[in-house]
Each structure stands twice: as C-alpha cells, then as structure tokens.
Amino acid sequence: SMVNAGAMSGSGNLMDFLDEPFPDVGTYEDFHTIDWLREKSRDTDRHRKITSKSKESIWEFIKSLLDAWSGWVVMLLIGLLAGTLAGVIDLAVDWMTDLKEGVCLSAFWYSHEQCCWTSNETTFEDRDKCPLWKKWSELLVNQSEGASAYILNYLMYILWALLFAFLAVSLVRVFAPYACGSGIPEIKTILSGFIIRGYLGKWTLLIKTVTLVLVVSSGLSLGKEGPLVHVACCCGNFFSSLFSKYSKNEGKRREVLSAAAAAGVSVAFGAPIGGVLFSLEEVSYYFPLKTLWRSFFAALVAAFTLRSINPFGNSRLVLFYVEYHTPWYMAELFPFILLGVFGGLWGTLFIRCNIAWCRRRKTTKLGKYPVLEVIVVTAVTAIIAYPNPYTRQSTSELISELFNDCGALESSQLCDYVNDPNMTRPVDDIPDRPAGVGVYTAMWQLALALVFKIVITIFTFGMKIPSGLFIPSMAVGAMAGRMVGIGVEQLAYHHHDWIIFRNWCRPGADCVTPGLYAMVGAAACLGGVTRMTVSLVVIMFELTGGLEYIVPLMAAAVTSKWVADAFGKEGIYEAHIHLNGYPFLDVKDEFTHRTLATDVMRPRRGEPPLSVLTQDSMTVEDVETLIKETDYNGFPVVVSRDSERLIGFAQRRELILAIKNARQRQEGIVSNSIMYFTEEPPELPANSPHPLKLRRILNLSPFTVTDHTPMETVVDIFRKLGLRQCLVTRSGRLLGIITKKDVLRHMAQMANQDPESIMFN
C-alpha cells in the first residue's frame, strides 16, 4: 500500500490519486540524466516476462497482443490529438489576426476572408472589400477613408496587439512557466536522457496551445512551428502515461516522444516525410528503426486529421502551398547560390546576436522584467509594422504572397506588371513583362520590411512567450529571394540580348519565376539558422508539391550550410543548449584531441580522495554521513580500503531510499548496523546489531575504462551508450571516476569555451 506523508485515516481510498506519488526505486530526480542501459534491460525483462506468460492461457496471450499493439495505439492517439490541436490553432490564429483590423458583422467568428466568402459585392479591383466586414474606424467613428480613420485603425491595431501579448505572458507566468520559448532545445535535451519534470505536462500543453494563438495573432515576429513540436511532445507524454509499458520506462517513452516530434513538424508544415526526417536529424538522440516506421504513421495520421478539419479551405495543409511547374534554367543557379550565401551569412549573424541578447537577458537586470519586455517589444513591433503593408499582414500570408507566381489575375502590388492588352496566352504561361509602378513600390517596401524583420526577430526569439523561429527565417529569405528574383526577371526582360540570357530567355517566353527565388531564399535562410540539411529540402519540396525544384533548393541549402559552418559549428538550437548549460553530448561534435582518461578523471592531483563505499565494513551511520557531506550522484563500492578492487556502483538516490525504507520497516536496523553488499553477511561479533543487506541496489556491471584509454574512445562510449558515469581503473584497482559533466567540461575546455557554464549533471 502507498505510504502517505501524513495520517492515513482510512478515508477515501478513491482519492489516493490526489496524493503525492511515492518515489519508488527506479525513478529519477528532476534535472538528472536517465540510465539508458538500465531502462533497456528493464524493458527486455518486461517483454520476456510477457512472452513467457503468454503461453499459459488465452487471456495472457491476448494481453501480450495488446502489449504489442499499444505502441501503434499510442501513435494513433498522438496523431489525432496533434492534428486536432494544430487545426484549432490555425483556425483561431486566422480569426484573431484579423481581429486587430476589424470584425465581421454577420458572424463575429469569421475572419476577413471567411466573412467575404459568400458576398457578391467583391469586385475585381477591390477583392478584399465587402460590406459585411467593417474595420474598427468604420465601427467607431463611421469613417473608412481619411487621416482620422487611418490613425484610429493604427491605434486599435496597437491596442489589440498589446492586449494579446499581455494576456499571453500573464498566462505563461501564472500557470505554466515552462511554456515559454521554442521548446526544441529542451526537447532535444530531454530526448538525450535528461529529466525536466513538468516540461511535458498537461498544464504546459494547455497553456502553450492557448498562448501560442495569442502571440501569433499579436503580430510579433515569431512562428508556431517550434512550439507545435513542443505541443505534440506533450501529447506524446500524455498518451504514453496511459500505458505502463511507456509510463514506467523512460527509455521507451523517449521513442514515443521522437515520433510525437515528427507528428508536430508534420502538421506545422503539412510535410509528413519532412517531419520524420526532422525528428531523425534534429530532435532525436537515439532513433531505432522501429521508431522510424511508427513516426511515419503518427505523422500521417496527424496530417490526415488536419486535412479533414480543413482550416485553410481546399484541403490545403499549410497556408503557403504552391503548385506551379514552370521550369528553371541552369544559369539561374548563380543567383540561387548567391541566395544560399545570404542565408548562411544571415544565419550566423542571427545566432550571434540572439545568443548575445539572451545572455544579457540571463545575467543582467533585463531578465527581471519579463512582462515589461514583452510589452515593449510588442509595442515597437506593432508601431513599426503597421505602416508597411508587408509587415502588417501576418507572416504566413506574406510568405504565401511572396511564393506565388503572378498570373494575370493577381491584384497585389507585387504583381503590378505592365500587361499587354492584346495578349491571348492562358493564365499560367504569361511571358516576362516589364515592371509597373506598383512593383517598384513593392521593392523598396520589401527592403524596409526585410531590415525590420532581421532586427526585430533577434529581440523576439527567446522572450518568455512561446516563440518559434521557422516562419520569421523563411520570411526573411522569401523577401530577399523575391527581390533578387524580380531583379533577375527585369534584367532578363530589358537585356535579353546579353550572352547569359540569349540562350534560354527569348523575348515572349516565361523565363524567370520570382516565386521560385523566394522559395529558394526561404530554404537558404532556414538552413543557415538551424543547419538542417536533408529534412529542410524534403520539407520544402513537400511544400511545393513537386520534384522539379529539388536541385535549386539543395544548391541553396548546401551553400548556406557551408557558409554558416565556416563561421561557427552550432545551429541556433545547439547554441541555446550551450547557453543554458544542459548536459547534452552532441553526436555532431567531433572530439579530435589526444587526451587520455587519466587527464579528465576525478579526483585530480591535489583533490581529496574518491568517496567510496566498502563492501562490508561501513555502518549505516558512516554511509549517512558520507551522503550528507557530499553531493555525488553515486558511489563506487570496493572490496576494502586497502585493496581498492571494484565490486560495483551504487546510486545516491537508491541508497537514501533503501536506508529510509530499512529504518522504517526492517527489524533491528540501527545506526551501528553494518551495511553489506555481498551475498552472505560478514562475520560479526555476537551482540552486534542486525546487518543491512543492500545487494539489490548495487549495479554489478559498471562501465570501466583503464587510465590510458584515449578520451576519444571515452567520449564515443558515453555517446553511444548514454552513460552517466564511467569508472577508471588500473590493474583492477579503482583510480577515479569520469562523469558526463566532466566530459562536457573537458570538451568545452578543449574548444576554448567556458567550462564553468556546464550546470547540470
């Protein structure tokens, strides 16, 4: 029965779930790393027990089948819930973004586009206007044009943005402080074996979903893709706690979380395969092949659920789906590679500036005013964004407009080309045309918007609200790409007799597609900042619906990664992991120094000797004193202090629990009782107290290396096996211990970083 911290008066056994769960042997403390090998062996034991029992009766056989299928059931549930939440978020964002500008009189829950859907009064020139949608100035002072209307609309826009941002940061602060930020650096760390209790909890899920809608609607320069991965992982955690196969085993749970991350990216971009590859490349640490198939299933279920909710109409999954097939030419690879270089440079600039700003937020007084910071940044964003039409609209709509090709039917300023009235070509084969006045206006507005977005995103990412990075990076790249594309298009039109254009661009042909340049630019910038490779290309080609553009996308992605890697090896997520000091041993880091295990192990020369337990000569009181005086996570157990031959390793948490248990329950255990780890109790004098056997908590197979093992091998062992500590021996005698923290500090020291920034164990 469960032991409560308090009197058990026999009332309300049903209410036991409200009590604090008793920490049993085998669970982990907050901010500690799990023992991958133990979790794996526990799962193998469980599986073997079920398999052996399944032969006994039909009921046991059915139970074994249910156990095998529980993985698929969890994936199905995760896909359903993630898709539903993404659909809710998309619909709510669509509505609330338009709420800043006006409201629909017939039904207040319709956004601008939905309100004018059934109207018959939309004309070709004014496609956005319909009598049912009223701007705020029309409602309040009954004017729709003029200076006072503009100022009133401006003021209402700023007020709504401030209201949304204030609500979001207050909700995060009061209910779930873990809901802020992107979530991907912390999820990467959790998937590598770290425990952050509450990070994937139910309140975090609820608050992250609700506040994500608020912050995206407030017009801040952030996206929802990273937070959607966090939301999907929370769903994964929630459903895996329903099945004991996953709730009791931290290693199996992380398999489910990897698949949930794939489902999250799948609904964020409408790209199931890209989602699986993103989870494999960026988020997960260990990715067994079984997880690959299950992640794909979860991602497909999530995408299908989102499709049936149909938030964007026409069964599109993402706002910026494009489906044109105009070909590209080899000579265009040169501007594509230029866009790749731009993406790499921007990525480096962004990472350096953002990390510097976040470090300042962490260490100075700026970090003491999170609510004020959010309000100030929102005010600045709203004030500067409103006058420019390209920053006033939501960033997803901007990207959609920039990705689109200009047929004869577009009415936006970007498509204000000089049309030939006698032209009789069908809609999707319009030849290149000279730019009209609207295009030139659009170009300098885009340039201003580009500079603004580059600057403001540095200050926005990392605030205490849910914030993602994918959409702002894609917007920066799309703006740069579209400008380059229009430039190349006009150059090809006006100078079609130059050598480079003569071969492939005849007058009267549709050569250059500026929308493609926008896509390539978006891919380059996203790759420059996150350093994604394969997953980026797959996501982009799933967004465009075709394989024609794989080569330009790959060229840009590869170029941007090379350029960005020349300045620094870390992407934005690894940089944030380093900033927070999480114990994340990156598989991408190469360790090429020639140090040995003896250089890194503790105790060093001049330090107090290693705290060890002996196998049968310490009393309970000695052990308790040792535990109280030190804060090590575990103690090696040796034969005796003279011959320091290693027996095994005992964890601190399990020692504490076992001693506490023994004192409460076992007869005759006092402070003077001898604690022994052998099978048989030692020889004791006649009236000594009852000895305490703790062999069951001893790990008899700790990993050991010799003192001359190169650190390269040690780092490899830590990475591949997920170790937390490793013992160093020489000729069978225990010399010292290397923990994961020591390894990380050593790597930081070798890379000339600050080794004191590694905070956790």
């Binding site: 359903l80 939309t122 209910f175 779930a176 049936s308 909710i309 109409g313």
Partner: protein, 198 residues
C-alpha cells in the same frame, strides 16, 4: 486494491480528456456531412478583356461543373470571343466548413475566458479571501519570499496546515496546493534564477 482504484481513476480522467478531443474531431466530421448550402462554391476570376472590366463570379455548383461556361452568367462577350475570354478566366472549386469554424472559435474563446477568470481569482481574489479567513499573522512569508508578490506565495504554509485533516475536500485542496508549489518552483527556475529556458 487502493492502488488499482487510484490507477483506474487516473486512467478514467485521462481517457475522458482524450475522449473530449476525439469528440471534437467527430463533431467536425459530422459537420462535414451536413454541409451548409453556402459552404461550397466555384469561384471564377476573369481579368479585363477588350472593353469589359474584370469581374469575379461565384456560384454554388458541383466540382465537375466548375468551369467558365457554367459559372460566368451572363456571359459579357458574344460568339467567337467567348473562348478567348474563358481561356483567361481561372476557375477554382472551394469548400469550407462554417460549423467547424464556429465551434472551434467558441470553444477556444470559452477556454481562454475560463483561464483568465481562474487567473484573476488566483492572483487577486484568493489572497484577499485567505487573509480574511486566516488572519494576518498566518501570511508571514518565509525569508526568500520577502517582497515576493507572486501568486501561490503562501503555498507551503497551506500545505503544512492541510496535512492534519484527511477528507475529500481537503485532499483536493492539498493536490491544488501541491500544483501551486510545482508552478512556483518552475517560475523560480525560469524567471528568477534563469536556470532553464533563458
């Protein structure tokens, strides 16, 4: 036995939450079937041609009939020009589900409203109530909470008090106070010490 009931209860609450999510989804599917008449349309955009200005035509028509000849009505050009005119028009079949949009927005606004009310209660109303019920002396903060105007600042006081009685209402309050303590710990590590999520 108690553990079994407790586990079943927990399973039940979690299953009901997931059932809620699934029922929302089912509602969406059902609403798909009972589609509003106005939720389907074929939209044709025709650019300016010769003397005619550009125009947008909407008609509620099935997907196989969604083309220029069925939707553009009345046809502004005559005879041989019809083909040239229609070649430049772009017709798209669109559908939406107005019921889904309405249900989603209303559910979202109600959840947001409930959260805001609970937040106002926790930050403003509850300290006033507790001060009136337990008197001023019991709210003396511990040393590291001096000047701490955060919500849940007195969580461990209430935790210590409520351990003495063990009935259902108190257990609910105990669980709520434990949650508040967790949130306070999280807030300390994120906002104050900047240890996680800088």
């Amino acid at each position: 036995m108690a553990a079994l009931w407790g586990g079943l209860f927990r399973l039940g609450s979690m299953l009901s939450l997931s059932c809620l999510a699934l029922s929302v989804l089912l509602l969406v599917q059902l609403s798909d079937a009972a589609k509003n008449f106005e939720d389907v349309r074929c939209k044709c955009i025709c650019p300016p041609y010769k003397d005619n200005s550009g125009h947008i035509y909407n008609k509620n028509i099935s997907q196989k009939d969604c083309d220029c000849l069925h939707v553009v009505d009345p046809m502004p050009v005559l005879g041989p020009d019809v083909e040239a005119y229609c070649l430049r028009c772009e017709c798209k079949y669109e559908e939406r589900s107005s019921v889904t949009i309405k249900v989603t927005i209303i559910i979202y606004l109600s959840i947001l409203g409930l959260l805001l009310l609970y937040m106002v209660y926790l930050t403003l109303v509850e300290p006033i109530l507790k001060r009136r019920l337990f008197g001023h002396s019991q709210l003396i903060q511990s040393d590291d909470d001096v000047g701490d105007h955060q919500p849940f600042a007195n969580a461990h006081d209430v935790l210590a008090r409520s351990r003495s009685r063990a009935n259902v209402l108190n257990k609910v309050e105990y669980a709520q106070q434990r949650w508040k303590l967790q949130v306070q710990e999280q807030r300390k590590s994120v906002f104050d010490r900047h240890v996680v999520l800088s």
